[in-house]
Amino acid sequence: MIVEFGHFSVVAALLVALALGVVGHVSAVNSVWRSLVATLASCQLLLLAIGFAVLVRAFLGSDFSVAYVAENSNSLLPWYYRVSATWGAHEGSFLLWILIMGVWTWAVSLGCRRLPDEIFGRILGTMGLLNFGFLLFLLSTSSPFERLLPAAPPEGADLNPLLQDFGLIVHPPLLYAGYVGFAVAFSFAVAALIGGRLDAAWARWSRPWTNVAWAFLTVGIALGSWWAYYELGWGGWWFWDPVENASFMPWLAGTALIHSLAVTEKRGAFKSWTALLAIAAFSLSLLGAFIVRSGVLTSVHAFAVDPERGLFVLALLALAVGGALAIYGVRAPTIMSRARYGGFSRELLLLVNNAILVVALAFVLHGTLYPLAHEAMTGGEKTSVGAPYFNRGFVPLMCVLACFLALVPVARWKRTPLSLLKNSGLMCVAALCMGLALPLALGGAFKVGAAAAVALGIWIVLVHGADMWRRRNSTTRGYLGMMVAHIGFAVALMGIGVTSEFSREVDARMAVGDSVELNGVTYRFAAMRRIEGPNYVADRAEFVTDTGVRLYPEKRHYAVREQVMTEAGIAAGFARDLYIALGSALPDGSWGVRIQDKPMVRWVWLGALLMAFGGVLAVTDPRYRRLRSTRGLREARGSPSPTT
């Protein structure tokens, strides 16, 4: 009965979302309705939370009369995986998506309550309409509340063992918080376009929201990469898989957007471009949802294929994005900007940043959708685009981006005095020397890619560090956030360069007692024993290195799904990871073993975390809180803002 109550609650949320959509847009014209908007947003969140809680409860109580629970859970599953199984497949994960949309809507209704009626109503109205579309999709094609009555199975089919992992408990919620967070930026852009007022004040209002969404997405992607690294057993951390690309494309657009917003806020320039990027970031999130949930591209992450679902998401995508772009086409002339800047300036650097990021985005989009286009044009012939294509274009683009990034701290708005560039040149030489020396010290061999990445990384860190030191008494949180994020980029860049070029691996056939040497470290296969987990049995090996590190790779056998999983043994470290994955057991009792030595691989994720931290740090800048006070409102009414 309680499951039906949850279902009903979500149906009610659908109606509330529609009401919010209508009332929001009406209140922009007639402010009598304004007080209702926030109430509807809260009401929607409450109903969605009830629906979601009911589903979680069904999982915790192993209620296998619910089809979705029966397909994705099992009574042997530990309680925390039963909770996370709620978002382990299409239906539940989309309910989570909608719930997060509800949370964002509610947060906007609180955080933006001092904004003028017109823009407040339109933002929330747009978000309401979007969530109405999502809810309609959920309820009509993929309800997680369907029952298997009267024939409820006695036991569930179990959660896919790949997903029985800490990374997968937190990865989807964070990723969705990012995806859906871009709906806020999207709604801000649509609201501003309808109202014809896309100015510095508008940019300042939408910046914190965009930053937070972007930070969530950054952490979500990093977590997914980390999960793939230790769970898939190949030791790779990025595969250019269509679904990875699906999360990476909104990130690229979002990164371009937060930079473009800076110009719009500070200089009133790039206005229509900013609006377009805000629309693009969320559109790409929706495109990602389409790719993952329609089965249109083959991928390890893809959910079950259902033509009806794919068509629905495509229709949703066409309506939301087509609608927003039509509004853009009609209204963009009202927001044209006429700002001037010359020569070498921050505006120019940010323009270059946007150009490079958009080219990179187009490149990834092309590589991701090419198999689809090829198939459509040749009538069914299949092809696939692999990592070599992506690396060939993406790596040089990021190196160029890094070069310009190193110039950021010296650049000024409008025009930069050339004298400022000299210090930067000195550091460039220093960084170049270190970049050439460090990889040599690390691996004994010279690799161009690693040298370039390290040199660029050190250059960025030096230049940014020096600037932070120079401004130590006068810096703002916003500026500090940017610095931290840029250093994060440099850290990730160095990690990627070094780990790609200096990783070593060896495949060996080993029995207990055998030893193998890799990169100066000897690995001894010390023991093999059988252990029992809650819902699996595993062969657990013990490896000891001559440096005293112990690693425990496992081969797990999950009984319910008859599935075998490789659990890598990893000795994580700041400087290097030692990584062992068990292959197959050979008839003579020995094992296929893959041992990897991966220097600086942690830096990739550390860099991503720094970037996200920088994004959030910038949001804590007091100037965003001032926007709710009188000054923000004065600007909103169109009086000139004092230049800062």
Partner: protein
């Protein structure tokens, strides 16, 4: 200011949406088999399961009518159809070649030892790359090859008694009639 220029993003998006729609409708699983039928079985060079060092190529499949069955130990439906495949191998003498798809070779050998082995031999496709070339959606899938190595029939899903009687047997009879 040329107003039409402002609609360029929308036009780009419209083209993209059309491609998505086309690609999406082409992916209809019911349409796919027709794309492979009457085409030669793709070239490959892969190891044989359980025989380290031995490799097999497309040439080894030619010369005889065969079923090629894509299976894996992680696939419950494969186990469900295993009995029917064994019956076909025993009673009709039709050659069945297995493609062990995205699997663990030692698990696969154990699985065959436990459930019986109706296959002449098994092609090892650990990475699943060959499966991509064959347009495999998921295991099990079964192909009927004529003596020339051309695909004459494809089944997505399990082979059971009904499928054997209503689809596979008539397809084999049709091949017989051609000769």
């Amino acid at each position: 200011m040329n107003r039409a220029r402002l609609f360029i993003p929308m036009a780009v998006f419209a083209v993209l949406a059309c491609f998505l729609f086309l690609g999406f409708t082409l992916r209809d699983p019911h349409e796919l088999p027709s794309a492979l039928i009457d085409r030669p079985f793709p070239d490959f060079d892969l190891p044989i399961l359980g025989k380290p060092g031995a490799r097999v190529t497309r040439a080894d499949l030619v010369g005889q009518r065969r079923l090629v069955n894509v299976w894996a130990t992680w696939c419950p439906t494969c186990l469900a159809e295993h009995g029917e495949l064994s019956r076909i191998a025993n009673e009709t003498g039709l050659s069945i070649i297995g493609i062990n798809y995205k699997d663990d070779p030692s698990e696969a050998s154990r699985w065959l030892a436990r459930h019986g082995d109706p296959y002449d031999f098994n092609i090892e496709d650990l990475s699943g790359d060959f499966g991509v070339e064959l347009g495999v959606y998921g295991a099990p899938e079964t192909f009927l090859l004529d003596a020339g190595g051309t695909i004459r029939y494809k089944r997505v899903g399990d082979v059971n008694e009904d499928i054997w009687r209503d689809e596979l047997q008539p397809a084999i009879a049709a091949l017989e009639a051609l000769r």
